[in-house]
Amino acid sequence: MDKIFPEYIEGYGKVIPYGTNIARKEKINEKTKVLKQTSKVMTLEEAIIDTGLTDGMTISFHHHLRNGDEVMKLVFEVIHELGIKDLTLSSSSISKAHDYLLEYLRDGTITKIYTSGFRGKLAYEVQHNFALKAPVIFMTHGGRARAIEEGSLKIDVAFIGASCCDKLGNLNGKYGKSAFGAIGYPMVDAKYAKQSVAITDYLVDDMVEDISISKDYIDYVVVVDKIGNPDLIATDSTRNTNNPMDLLIARKAAEVLIASGYIAENFSFQAGSGTISLSVCQFLKEYMISENITGEFAAGGVTSNLVQLFEEGLFRKLYDVQTFGSDVVSSLIKNEQHVEMSADTYASPSNEECIVNKLDVMILSATEIDVNFNINSVTGSNGVMMGALGGAPDTTAGAKLSIIVAPSIRKRIPIVVDQVRTICTPGKNVDILVTERGISVNPNRTDLIKILSEKGIPIMPISKLKDAIHQLTGVPDELETGDNIVGIIEYRDGSVIDVIYDL
């Protein structure tokens, strides 16, 4: 990886290139206990004014409500009314539901963005028409937690949407009409932001019993009509695919995993939410049952498939940082061993005991992977910002075995290339690629190459797989990009692993 970045980027600051050791393990102090004499409950406008939010500050949101989120909109409407400008927006992610933010970029309400994901019209305008002067800063879920904890991302006001909250500010995401499950991302915001505003559409009469975030971290409680659209929040994650290609790849991946020896008693496991990853779970289930294997825990992004495996006794514990599906929310409520976890417990590189470090197996998908196993999950092969970093760089760094499952061609686009457009997950942490056309193992895993060969799993060098795919698709033409940096990809430790140019 011989990428060269400027030493300093306007709108970002000093660039520390990936690979430089910048381990910073100190944390700033957690917020001191909030002791408010008067009631915390007030209108959104009153709350924002009371926080003293002014120009140039940093505000944060979470994306547990996914495409159904209404919280950000409500907050920005008030902020806009109040004429506050030059804000830094830090959201755990940004989806297509947030296209309206474009207006706030254009009029200077928002001048800087930190996020894990960026897509849709908003991303298009930023990349093609410089809707934002400063580059968008991409952080992984673990990296964001680390940055907040160590104070390099200082949040002035955290806005925390909660489906269930009491007058004191004890809240969760499990109950209420807009229930979304685990509220892992903003747990960090609540602890370290100067002030936190809980926004709920279900204010309970007495105290919330099942507390995800304690009143000790909440300064204000705002009640609104709805925090989100339930149809778009609770996505149906039980997507048991019938697509024969997905099943083919999933079955090959399961064979590889079984041959690797990592599916053994007490193993731990995480799978991304793509259909192929989920199908791998189903094949592994059969094996685990026949070999009488119980896993220690499964983690995620928790989907119905994972809950099913858990409830059938195949895993002892479920660690949940984000919940996909209302049936999964039910499990979170009723199953004691289905446990919510904060983003820092999940993946912060400052936390040696974080869950990703305990993972044996990680299965995920990718849009693009190169001959050095680097993965791109943020830009399409055409260079357009349309994805997210998510937790992949965290999980692949921590897991003992990371396996990518993907079709070798999507329409005409080859999944294996010489150099990915944007490095999001460094190749040294990616161990195996499984496609319908071939299986490749990272040369740095001589142990895996040996054991898979011994078990008769056919593997090929990734460059050979790339050639076979390019035989069909043709070698893509060189892409032209501009010279302006519109996005910065931070690795989980805060170093810069790649940048995104305008188009």
Partner: protein, 87 residues
Amino acid sequence: MARLQGFCGQVRKCDVKVSVDLDVDGIEIEIISKFDKMFKTHMEKAVRDVLSEEGVLDAKVVVEDEGALDFAIRARTRTAIRRSRGV
């Protein structure tokens, strides 16, 4: 279909619709595709190769592509030419 015009294929995933009009002067190729940034040169070449093989010197070819591989672009172009010729 008017004289000397023909088309073949469908605008559907991994396929291509190629429309040929032989009643023009010179060769003009128009590519309509989400994948043009990556594969425009390939698509044009596929069409040109077939025009050449079929001895076509004058044609306007419109390629409406949904990610078809070159072999499909060639095939659809060939069929479209044949149909334009009334064969």
